[in-house]
Amino acid sequence: MLSSHLIDLVLALGMVVLALQVVSERAVLRSIILFVVFGLVMALAWTRLKAPDLALAEAAIGAGVTGALMMMAWRRLLIINPREPADTPRGRSRVAIPVALLAAALVATIGLSALFIDPPTDTAGRIALDEMVDTGLGNPVTGVLLLFRNLDTLLEMAVLLIALLGARAISKPAHPNEAAVVETGTPLVGALLAILVPLSILISTHLLLAGTNEPGGAFQAGAVLAAGGVALVLTARLQPGDRPGVIAQVAVTAGLVAFIGIGVGVMAFGETLLVLPDTWAVYVIETAMMVSIGLTLVLLFAGAPALVGRRT
């Protein structure tokens, strides 16, 4: 019992120290790298809190995709102006420390007092767990996401699409140099991709299929799929394009279209809006969502409206 609390203490201390380093480190790139490490420690904390779905999501999305996006943005800044000093001066704010202390005290008060009140017995989570038996799904988180509160998930897909459209609307055509290219003449790059890309497809498919009964699901799967795409962009196998093709447009909107299509389609059979008919609908929607999430994240990473294969 004592040793498990020791692990908690180490993780908690690690979170605090890493967070402190992320915000106080002088070099921005080091801050980003430390943030990725922070995300991975967070993933361990989620496993300690018995939330493996969140651990997977944190490792793949919180640490992985966010870190990659940040590093890519930092690289763009350096390409636009190579003379930009790597260490930017930090601003001074006299109120920063008192405000931070007050904020921490406020959050601790809210958190601790919520912890020590009697937990309500008739929560939505309890009802969801009771209803899970009838659904044929083994993972209650997937059940909540796809069946019980699927309007949230539908709108979440809409937010992803809007973020992509927004980023596309405000970004100018990319500087030619900004297409991320590493040395592609090395034969090792091809060999690495030959392992990484199929592996990302394999793992994402597993996460998707396992997600109905075990930890995993469309979001984690989409992020892992995006990791394969990011590897292809980094090695210039996929290059930023100007105009998205039909396939890309269909893929980016597939999750939303499948979700709305099935969710509204059930009304023709006298069902209520968004009441999914059976497990197959969950699989169809999750697969479409995985493809959409993966491609959306890769497009956000590449900062381009479309991706084209390398012209040889």
């Binding site: 609390h5 203490l9 908690a12 605090v16 967070a19 992320v22 915000v23 921005v28 801050s31 980003i32 967070m42 904390a45 989620w46 809190l49 018995k50 939330a51 969140l54 999501a57 999305i61 995709v65 966010t66 996006l69 940040m70 943005a73 800044l77 636009i80 102006n81 930017t88 930090r90 601003g91 704010s93 920063a96 405000v99 931070a100 921490a104 005290a105 959050v107 601790a108 958190g111 912890l115 937990p119 929560t123 989570g125 969801a128 767990l129 209650p140 988180v141 909540v144 996401l145 949230d152 979440e156 937010v159 809007i162 973020a163 927004g166 980023a167 970004s171 979001f219 999430i293 956000l300």
Partner: protein, 102 residues
């Protein structure tokens, strides 16, 4: 005990995030601080939601999963905004000093 440890740690992390947000000039740093803050909020949400014997509340987990994905979408959009600002002004900060220099 686990819950108390994580609530306290997450509160400190939240405070650190607020501090980082206030002292950072570079927009990328501000985004990092915001992401640190959101992580701590997710931890508190999960711990406070409690749950039965089979792990934490599934509704809370689903909400946090949604939150993680929304956070990355918002971060990606904010980074695109930052790059646009940088192209326009040559700076990746939006402090008042910019106006004084002109």
């Amino acid at each position: 005990m686990t819950a108390v440890i994580f609530v306290l740690a997450a509160s400190v992390v939240f405070g650190i995030g607020v501090w980082g947000l206030l002292i950072a000039e570079h927009l990328l740093r501000k985004l990092l601080a915001l992401n640190v803050m959101s992580s701590s909020v997710f931890i508190i949400m999960l711990v406070v939601a409690g749950g039965g014997g089979n792990g934490p509340d599934p509704v809370a987990q689903a909400l946090i999963l949604t939150g993680i994905v929304i956070a990355v979408a918002a971060t990606a959009f904010a980074l695109a905004l930052m790059i646009s600002i940088y192209r326009e002004t040559g700076r990746a900060s939006i402090t008042g000093k910019d106006d004084d220099d002109r």
